[in-house]
């Protein structure tokens, strides 16, 4: 059965007051709790997305030996609010020959595709919104909506640059879904389940229980997943569809103001979600370094901070990669996916399956310690 926030909260005493007020098994209570938690998640994700723009400018400045924004607020930390205000107050321009319906729909699709993945994002063992039995599969499926949004954004602007950017972006996203999905399948093989709760629960305990150290195939799968996810979110060095110097900013050229803000916000939140998924699948998720049996609210808060910390560490790596490597051409990008990453991912899957059969599911650490 899928575990939700509601079933987790139902084991506390204060929940009985709410049940007495709303009635037994009430739909209204469930809806209110879901809306409250979803609102919190969306607000936190949007803040992290906004701070991501600030972090990117500061980290890139650090790499390039200059100071980033440091005027607005202490250390320039309110810069993202200033950017937000600028974006909201810009004029909303639409080209006259553009397709109105699709022009309005494209940024919404990107945003919905990203925010819907927050429903299964593994924050902690109790506060995950819904722990679906097909959690990882659902996440990958819903983020395909971003590809459709990118294509529509490129098409609806009715301009040659945007169309090219949109087609390249969509083909990049659907191509890199394959190594990502196969790497996630490798983890599903190791954990025996597709739900985030089960996958993270299998990695509890000491550092060597993490799936990235389970066998060499899972180790390689982590890097395949990371590179594939970088390409799926259109992040450098795979960011040709939105390259500022090539295509005059590609598929979101004609978007101004808040619509452009939707595209940018969707991209930054997607990077956070993808690094969070990498942390949950490969790096142990929200588990504490020791096994804890008791289950209280402070433990949940520690778990939340652990997974947010791991995701932000991977976020730093993503930003670092962007400002280190040169941009790939579109044919190099496609050949990396189809000629290198996909065969490596398939080889990983087969190798991991063989490992599970030969060594009966033990990790390298367990074999070394002689279980």
């Amino acid at each position: 059965m899928n575990e939700t926030v509601v079933t987790y909260l139902a084991q506390y005493e204060f929940f009985d007051y709410l049940t007495a007020f709303f009635g037994e098994n009430s739909l209204l209570l469930t809806t209110i709790i879901f809306f409250v938690f979803a609102g919190i998640f969306v607000a936190v994700a949007a803040t992290i997305g906004g701070l991501g723009t600030y972090a990117e400018r500061k980290i890139s400045a650090d790499i390039q030996m200059r100071m980033g924004p440091n005027r607005v607020g202490p250390f320039g930390i309110l810069q993202f609010l200033a950017d937000g205000v600028k974006m909201i107050t810009k004029e909303d321009v639409m080209p006259r020959t553009a397709d109105k319906f699709l022009f309005y729909l494209a940024p919404l699709m990107c945003l919905v595709g990203v925010f819907a993945t927050l429903a299964v994002f593994p924050v902690s063992s109790g506060f995950t919104l819904v722990d679906l039995n097909v959690g990882v599969f659902y996440l990958i499926a819903i983020s395909s909506l971003v590809g459709v949004g990118v294509f529509l954004g490129g098409y609806a602007s009715n301009s040659k640059w945007s169309m090219l950017g949109g087609m390249r972006g969509a083909s990049q996203i659907i191509s890199y879904e394959i190594p990502v999905t196969i790497s996630v399948l490798t983890i599903t093989l190791l954990a025996g389940s597709m739900s985030f709760g089960n996958i993270v629960a299998k990695q509890e305990g000491f550092l060597t229980n993490w799936f990235v150290f389970h066998n060499p195939f899972a180790f390689i799968a982590f890097f395949v997943y990371f590179v594939g996810a970088l390409a799926e979110t259109n992040r450098a060095p795979f960011d040709l569809p939105e390259a500022e110097s090539e295509l005059v900013s590609g598929y979101h050229t004609e978007y101004t103001g808040m619509r452009f803000g939707f595209f940018a916000l969707a991209e930054y939140i997607e990077v956070f979600v993808v690094s969070g998924v990498a942390a949950a699948l490969f790096l142990g998720g929200y588990n504490l370094p020791v096994k804890v049996e008791i289950d209280m609210i402070p433990i949940q808060l520690v778990q939340i901070s652990i997974i947010v910390g791991k995701s932000l560490a991977l976020y730093y790596v993503v930003i670092w990669v962007r400002w280190t490597f040169p941009r790939l051409r579109v044919d190099q990008l496609m050949s990396i996916c189809w000629k290198y990453l996909t065969p490596i991912a398939i080889f990983n899957l087969v190798g991991c399956a063989i490992w599970m059969v030969v060594f009966k599911g033990q990790s390298m650490a367990q074999l070394l310690m002689g279980h």
Binding site: L102, F137, L145, G147
Partner: protein, 176 residues
């Protein structure tokens, strides 16, 4: 209660989007309405407790087929396509005149009555009710695919390989 709301919403989305696929002139808008219809059907699968099938539907159709259709529309002339058909009330293109529609309607009514007569027995077979208690189908589908239905599984992989190679060969650019 929640199941009823989800069912109603998904059913409305599916049927309205399908009818809009029929009536829109612009082919790009039709593809997007097909996308809406497919997402609605995924919601209907979710009300039936078929979680794996619902997510597979979203992944394959939304992430693959709709984008493929959009690409094909773009590569083959796109929205500059001009439809020369006459239309009924400006809404739907019509296929024939009143005589053909009359005969067709009569056939449809006879067909409908025959079907209702045949299917009334099947309706009585529906003993199980949808009470909202679902269990995960992922493990069971996995077991079924490699135990009972392994032949269809292997054949479908051969079919996909054939489709992959065939589509690449048919549509490759020719040196002319």
């Amino acid at each position: 209660m929640f199941l009823d709301i989800l069912f109603l919403g998904s059913a409305l989305l599916t049927v309205v989007s399908a009818i809009l696929v029929l009536t829109t002139r612009n082919i790009m808008h039709s593809c997007i309405f097909l996308l809406g219809s497919l997402i609605g059907i995924a919601g209907l699968y979710a009300t039936l407790g078929a979680d794996f099938v619902a997510v597979t539907q979203v992944m394959v159709y939304v992430g693959g087929i709709v984008i493929l259709m959009l690409f094909a529309v773009m590569l083959t002339g796109g929205k500059d396509f001009v439809s020369k058909a006459q239309s009924l009330l400006g809404l739907m293109p019509t296929m024939g005149n009143a005589w053909s529609y009359g005969v067709g309607g009569l056939v449809a009514v006879v067909f409908l009555l025959t079907n209702v007569q045949l299917l009334s027995r099947l309706g009585a077979m529906a003993q199980k009710k949808n009470d909202g208690s679902f269990e995960s189908t992922v493990n069971k589908i996995g077991h079924l695919l490699v135990k009972d239905h392994v032949l269809a599984f292997e054949l479908s992989s051969v079919l996909l390989l054939g489709a992959l190679v065939g589509a690449a060969i048919i549509a490759r650019p020719r040196k002319q």
